[in-house]
């Protein structure tokens, strides 16, 4: 299908922008580079919308099923074997188009927002260059038609995240955070890569369409049944491969226990957090699982998918608990992000494949979509607050509603959306997730249900403490953000309110066959979750709307639990222990020592031995004539003896 030939422009435009801005970062003054970046993103945004329109409404649906369209740009870009190659190609199917919308929308908004937010920063052009690079990578990621190509962009996304987190490279904490983010995700990527290698080995293809095809699933199933694939700990290596791939996704999506980089990543400029660490990059893991969903679902009865569900659920709960206690607003949002992504993972994990049974899949994607809007909004709002208050910490804030009404209202919209209050976007997606989970496993559902309440609580804890609560003294009176920032806030707020009404199941489903789904407000599940959210909001209102001493009391009652949660369950410390104390000190240091002293020492020893030998034997050359004669005669006799003896 040639209708989509132009799609390569979508990632290409940001790439060119990046190159242009990167090369001339010094030459281009502040607003110009921002305008260039924004203009290019506007183009991308329009193209994405056009693509979505065309795909969903014009050509995509054939025989009642959305067809995946592949546009090949360069076949065998990197050829491995006859069958395995990295083909540079674009795949257009419901999820990629949906992601296209998400990425281009949020990125576009962030570009606009940053015009105000980054104003006056002396790395302005560099910032826009990085943003373009990220957008390019992310768009590339979602459009990749090849498993290995996704890895390519996966890495590029990682590096742009690294660059953006470490944007303030003179701040040691930012540098450390960027390093941490990169290394942790890289660690996960290693598993991803191994998984790719294994999938490639067994499947003999990296192409998504081939991998997800029924033939492939049959073939792999056949191989497993015939023991042609080794098994390890009772599971076939192919399942292991899928799990490894998922670990890659866990790294990027900050799932427990690879989440530790995400809170630190908040060192980056806030628009970056909104773009990368809330809306787009962190959902790459979800996207990856969705992309390979047929494999996950079918291979060995979806064992790997079970892991997705468990990890997702646990992360959702884990992050929500931590989020309850954090003081830094961006960290609260970060843990909230982690929690919500856990939700999405959970949704995918509990999903089935066909028709209405694939509700979880649809819900996960839907949540991804809505979450991007309201979480982006939350972060941008937080950015506006930080911009005004010059601090990240809640205790420096309070009573801001009066100073910053626009921010406050948009923030409220987002908070309601994430809490799952109808009619805001989050409600619809969250509810469908819970429905799907309920069908799958009650425990998972219950955790999800609990998390929903916690989410409502900590979001409103945040909201009330920032905008109401006790008024603080401010050096400069805070005020609403400039137009560019407010525009983005309002735009996203509108989206966060409305996107929930999109009939998502008619576009994105596991088997790409649309179905009807609608929320039944009479369903006790729905009512329950709404009540749960309201309950959370209510508690938050009691505790935080006015300054009270309930929080302290509660913290005291919780005791150790509170402290652990506040210290993020010491995951960072654990990692530092493992890396520094064990890997650096117990492995790396001895190896370095071994190299310098044993291996190198051995080489030096040869030299030393020679010198020693030389020194010890010098007495032979005594300078005495008769000694020489003695050796001489001795030599003669010795040789004669030897010859005679051996003859």
């Amino acid at each position: 299908m040639n209708e989509f030939n132009y799609v390569y422009l979508i990632p290409l435009i940001p790439l060119l922008t990046f190159l242009f801005l990167g090369f001339f970062a010094k030459k281009i003054k502040e607003p110009i580079s921002g305008y260039i970046g924004t203009a290019s993103l506007a183009t991308v945004f329009i193209l994405s919308l056009y693509t979505a329109y065309k795909y969903f409404f014009v050509v995509g649906l054939v025989d009642g099923k959305y067809q995946a369209v592949r546009v090949m740009i360069k076949e065998a870009w990197l050829n491995f074997t006859d069958k395995l190659a990295i083909d540079v190609g674009i795949i257009i199917d419901p999820i990629s188009v949906m992601m296209l919308i998400v990425v281009s929308t949020i990125s576009f908004m962030v570009h606009i927002y940053s015009l105000g937010y980054m104003h006056g920063d002396n790395g302005f052009s560099r910032f826009y260059a990085y943003l373009s690079l990220f957008t390019f990578s992310m768009l590339g990621l979602v459009l990749s038609s090849n498993l290995f190509l996704i890895y390519v962009f996966w890495e590029l996304v990682g590096v742009s995240s690294f660059l953006l987190i470490g944007y303030y490279f003179e701040t040691p904490s930012a540098v450390a955070a960027s390093k941490k983010a990169f290394i942790v995700t890289r660690f996960a990527d290693m598993f991803f890569l191994i998984g790719i290698l294994m999938i490639g080995y067994f499947g003999q293809s990296f192409d998504f369409q081939t991998l997800n095809s029924e033939g492939m699933i049959e073939k792999i199933g056949h191989m497993i049944a015939n023991n042609q694939i080794y098994s390890f700990m009772g599971l076939s290596l192919f399942t292991w491969a899928l799990m490894l791939v998922y670990i890659g996704g866990m790294g990027k999506s900050a799932m427990f226990p690879l989440h530790i980089w995400l809170p630190d990543a908040m060192e980056g400029p806030t628009p970056v957090s909104a773009l990368i660490h809330a809306a787009t990059m962190v959902v790459a893991g979800v996207y990856l699982v969705a992309r390979l969903f047929p494999l996950y679902f079918h291979i060995e009865d979806g064992y790997a998918l079970g892991l997705v569900a468990i990890v997702g659920t646990f992360s959702a709960l884990f992050a929500a608990i931590i989020a309850l206690t954090q003081e830094d607003i961006k960290r609260v949002l970060a843990f909230s992000t982690m929690s919500q992504i856990g939700y999405m993972m959970m949704a995918l994990g509990v999903s089935k494949y066909e028709g209405h049974e694939g509700l979880g899949y649809m819900a996960g994607m839907f949540h991804l979509f809505t979450h991007a809007m309201f979480k982006g909004l939350l972060f941008l709002g937080a950015g506006a607050i930080i911009h005004a208050v010059h601090s990240n910490f809640m205790d420096k804030m309070g009573g801001l509603h009066k100073y910053m009404p626009i921010t406050s209202i948009t923030f409220l919209v987002a908070a309601l959306a994430i809490s799952g209050i109808p009619p805001f976007a989050g409600f619809f997606s969250k509810d469908e997730i819970l429905t799907a989970a309920y069908e799958y496993n009650k425990v998972i559902w219950f955790i999800g249900f609990l998390v929903a309440g916690m989410t409502a609580f900590y979001m409103f804890r945040l909201y009330f403490r920032i905008f109401f609560n006790k008024k603080k003294e401010y050096e400069h009176a805070p005020h609403d953000a400039p137009f560019s920032m407010s525009f983005a806030l309002i735009f996203l707020a509108i989206l966060a309110t409305t996107v929930g009404f999109i009939p998502f199941s008619e576009f994105v489903t596991a088997d790409r066959i649309p179905f009807q789904s609608h929320i039944d407000f009479g369903d006790p599940l729905v009512i329950g979750s709404i009540l749960m959210a309201l309950f959370g909001i209510g508690i938050a209102y009691i505790m935080y709307y006015k300054e009270t001493n309930y929080p302290q009391k509660l913290a005291k009652t919780m005791g150790v639990g509170y402290k652990w949660a506040k210290d993020k369950f010491y995951m960072d410390e654990l990692y530092i222990f493992v890396t520094h104390k064990i890997i650096f000190d117990r492995i790396s240091k001895p190896i370095a020592w071994f190299d310098r002293n044993v291996i190198d020492g051995f080489m030096n020893l040869i030299g030393l031995t020679m010198e020693k030998l030389s020194d010890k034997t010098k007495g032979l050359q005594s300078g005495r004539l008769q000694d020489y004669a003695m050796y001489f005669i001795g030599g003669v006799i010795g040789i004669i003896m030897l010859v005679v003896y051996f003859k």
Binding site: G607, M610, E611, L613, S614, D615, T617, K618, L620, Q621, G623, L625, D627, Y628, A629, Y631, F632, I633, G634, G635, V636, I639, I640, L642, V643, V644, F646, K647
Partner: protein
Amino acid sequence: MNLDTFMLMRDEIVLTGILLILLIAEVLWSPKNKKGLIYLGLLLFAGYTLQSFFSMGTGSLFGGSFKAYPLVNFFKASLAFGVMVILLQSVEWIKQKLLPNDFSAEFFILIFASLLGINFMVSSGDFLIFYIGLELATMPVIALTAFEFYNHRSVEAGVKYIMLASVSSAILLFGVSLVYATAGSIFFDDIKGALQLPLLEIIGLVMIFTGIAFKISLVPFHFWAADVYEGAPTVVSNYLSVISKAGAVYVLMTLLFITFRVFETEWNWIMYGIAILTMFVGNIFALRQQNMKRFLAFSSIAQAGFILLAMLSNDQMGVKAIIYFLLIYIFSNIAAFGVVHIISLKTGKENIDDYNGLYTSNPKLSLALMIALFSLAGIPPVSGFFAKFFLYAAAASKGYYVLIFIAVLNVTISLYYYLLPIRAAFLRRNEHPIPYFKIDIFSKIALVIVMVGLMVLGLYSGVFSYISSISNIF
């Protein structure tokens, strides 16, 4: 036998003639201007060198006592060439040290006599000529060793040399007598057919071998070499380490390859052991030397060990390799000694540390030193590499891979100490290096000749081809 056949020993005749002319000239020359005598000697020898390159044909004289064939003729020419270069290097030394004592002509006479001895030795067809040649080759050099009779070291070297050389020649003679007793002849050709290898004969052969091994300075017959090289005037050390050693190697080669060929199996493993010993001892001792001459002495001992590699092959491959190696070795060692000689003569400094920073003051000399040492170490594109390569090849052709392995390890050790003077000259930065000095024209010519030789002889394979074409001496 007619007069024409005498031309087979044209070299020897011409050399004898030169000797006589010099003797007479020494007597007749005006005592005031003995300098002319030096030039006369040089000129005459240049003539000799030139003529030695023209072929002399094949044949034997005196009933087989004296043999001439292309390879030996070529070898003699090479030796002559080597001596010529050494003479060029020594002109300045003669002028400084010998002329005041009026010894210049004697120097030439003694050197020529020694060369004459070597010529006879390599051409010999029986033990008598061989023995006479050997003694004639040795004794003038001993006299030269002690030539700086006012210098204690020189005299000591002379004493050590003559006493040990006498012992060695006595042992050699004893061996010859035993072989004579068992084979009934002193002619090589007759011996070759008559060898039965009774015990007595083997003992005789071993003794003969040790006599020659002494000259080549194989371990454990090498002890004199370092002391003598250090004590003797540099020019003489040079001659000793190059010409006299090469001559002995040649004789050993012909004896082992042709005359005592039956003895091969017994020999090979002895040679095997001695080769390893020689390489190791030479290298180990060279490691810690400070004095350049002593250093080169041990290096030349180690080089002798490498030559034995090819001796093991016992065929034409070995002959080629040995002759080619000797040729290159002559060039490299003369170059190395030449540089040492020049510096020692100008500044009196002979230690490696004295060379620190030499490159900054005397770049050309340092370069020459480097090339010479690289050649000795066997590093391409300097010809020493090719020479060594063929030595290994000769041994490898008979399957002695372990030996080659040991040998190349030794090359690595040797590289270490060959790099020491280079390190001193190039790497070390020195505030007060040996000051710049002008090199006399003769030494310069000599150095240029050997440098060109070192660079060309390997890359251009013509010489090797020529040697191959005449190397069938069996």
